[in-house]
Symmetry: C2
Subunit: 335 residues, 2 copies
């Protein structure tokens, strides 16, 4: 592309949104450097070309170009366990000295002892207790600080790098590519909304107000002249499965035209997105690369992908074969 085109694309990507993006896919294909040529890349660029072609039958105006992305397993790795669970476990270890009562109480006792299997054997009740102890009872601003400190220092157990580097380079490029074509990009994740917002702008170019996630109830409180919002231990929305379209409607209020996921938890979001009128796009990241990342689908309990994989065939969603379609998985991989 020439210099002027380059500048235009750069400024669009930086601003996060443009208001005049027309079909010009040729000059921005360079944003998809880590994608191999093939059916997945062709499906993406073909869709974007169709909906951005001024005067075309499938043209969609900029304000309606809403794209929603799952986070765990779609934008960053979710193996060997959800990163937010690693955060909760680290929090328990950090907080344990102030909680002598945890010495005799599960799941805390086993977490501190390093017996993860036993700690997590209690099912949903245990998970709720773990979440309440580590994610609630403080102000939203205190929690934000805690997350920022953790994300700046914690390392992924396999790659020994910050979690924010264990993100999928081709998906980061896809986010930029869509924004360069006038799309507004959102995260719609089963993960905690307050756990993601402190770092998504820096890592994905997605500001806090474009993050939808699971959330607990909140309470506003005056403390003298200051005001705070307290995180309460009751669930307000589980933004997973049928909760995803609900979260989208609550926070965005428009039906997206493109959705990107990787597991059955994304099925309803994909259905909601692709069964609207006009051109729609659905995509599933299929983890097929045990060498560079992980290979899992129907049998996995992390990122379980079964019904949504079947639905992809009948509904014409694009299935990304990580091994085949991605030149590199992580930013630190050699291309």
């Amino acid at each position: 592309m020439n210099m002027l085109q380059g500048l235009a694309v750069a400024s669009l990507v930086i601003s996060g949104r443009c208001c005049f993006a027309q079909s010009d896919t040729g000059s921005t294909d360079s944003l998809l450097l880590s994608w191999n040529e093939g059916p997945s890349k062709a499906a993406i660029t073909g869709f974007v070309q169709r909906v951005t072609k001024m005067g075309g039958n499938d043209f969609i105006p900029v304000p309606a170009r809403i794209a929603v992305f799952d986070n765990d397993g779609t934008l960053w790795t979710e193996q060997p366990m959800y990163n937010q669970l690693a955060f909760a476990l680290d929090r328990v270890k950090d907080m344990a000295p102030q909680h002598p009562e945890w010495n005799t109480r599960e799941p805390f006792k086993s977490i501190v002892a390093g017996d993860l299997k036993k700690a997590l054997s209690g099912g949903e009740q245990t998970a709720a207790e773990l979440l309440a102890a580590t994610h609630t009872g403080m102000t939203t601003e205190d929690f934000e600080r805690i997350v920022q400190e953790w994300i700046a220092s914690a390392k992924h157990p396999r790659y020994q790098r910050p979690y924010t580097e264990c993100v999928y380079q081709p998906m980061i490029e896809l986010l930029s590519y869509l924004r360069a074509h006038g799309f507004k990009t959102y995260i719609v994740s089963g993960g905690g909304i307050e756990f993601m917002r402190p770092w998504t702008e820096k890592v994905y170019g997605i500001p806090p107000e474009q993050v939808v996630g699971s959330r607990g109830k909140l309470r506003f409180e005056m403390r003298g002249e200051r005001s705070v919002i307290i995180k309460l231990p009751e669930i307000d929305l589980v933004d997973d499965h049928a909760g995803k379209p609900v979260g989208i409607q609550q926070l965005i209020g428009r039906r997206p035209i493109a959705a990107f996921g990787n597991s059955d938890g994304d099925l309803e979001m994909l259905q909601w997105t692709t069964s609207g009128d006009g051109p729609r796009f659905g995509l599933i990241v299929h983890h097929t690369d045990a060498e560079r990342e992980w290979a899992y689908d129907r049998q996995s309990h992390v990122g379980h992908l079964d019904k949504a994989l079947d639905a992809a065939t009948t509904r014409g969603w694009t299935v990304v074969d990580m091994k085949r379609d991605w030149k590199r998985v992580f930013p630190f991989d050699k291309p």
Copy 2:
């Protein structure tokens, strides 16, 4: 301003957001045409100048420039009754032929008979029944259509014009002015989120995803190959008083730097906004103009303004005197 400046401002206003807006208040003062010179206008432009001055002590980067506006009584008229209540009453009259059981049931019986006082004498229970009957039990898309049809045809009883013309011209200009300086403008209203979203983009330049409001619970549902979201009769959030900071945190996830309201229902939003660190701005529209609009505050039950008016003095919020500060109230007024 010269042509290039003009074009730049115009494109910023159209795009709804800019990413490089610096202090240049002189060239955009023309956006505040309907404001008389005086302390209110000076407070607004002074604040915007301070936070947009590159290199200044009070400079705030564009992504943090979040401004929140109440709707009823702040952006459009809320007298003689909330416009959404007028909508609900019209709905009852429209729906009555399909509901013979309403002939003997309050508040429906009195609404159809035109006895509004009796209809609304039942308090909260009645209001909840009215809301459930007129706002729930259909899909979000059906409700959107109903609102669009009503807003296109209904007329305000005093001005005999569409409700969307009974908006405050100086506040419309203020929204544009803030956006021209890199602010992202949000509505945060006690009114129903799904009642506002169908028309706020056209009327205020505020897209659906920047509207926060009261909301009911939702349920996602597949209907054959199609998918819908159903509006349920249970309340999910009352976005008023202490619910406003909660709604802001849920949907925006950042503490705003400027808040605009007109009643005690906005008090907590103003407190949440202005007690953050760094420069903050709070403003209350005081209805002082019975001739062009209405005059009301401490004694009114619509737009009750009492505690927030006292707080304005102690906390240094700007109080707009409608009669003194506004050259015209509505777009249709002679300037």
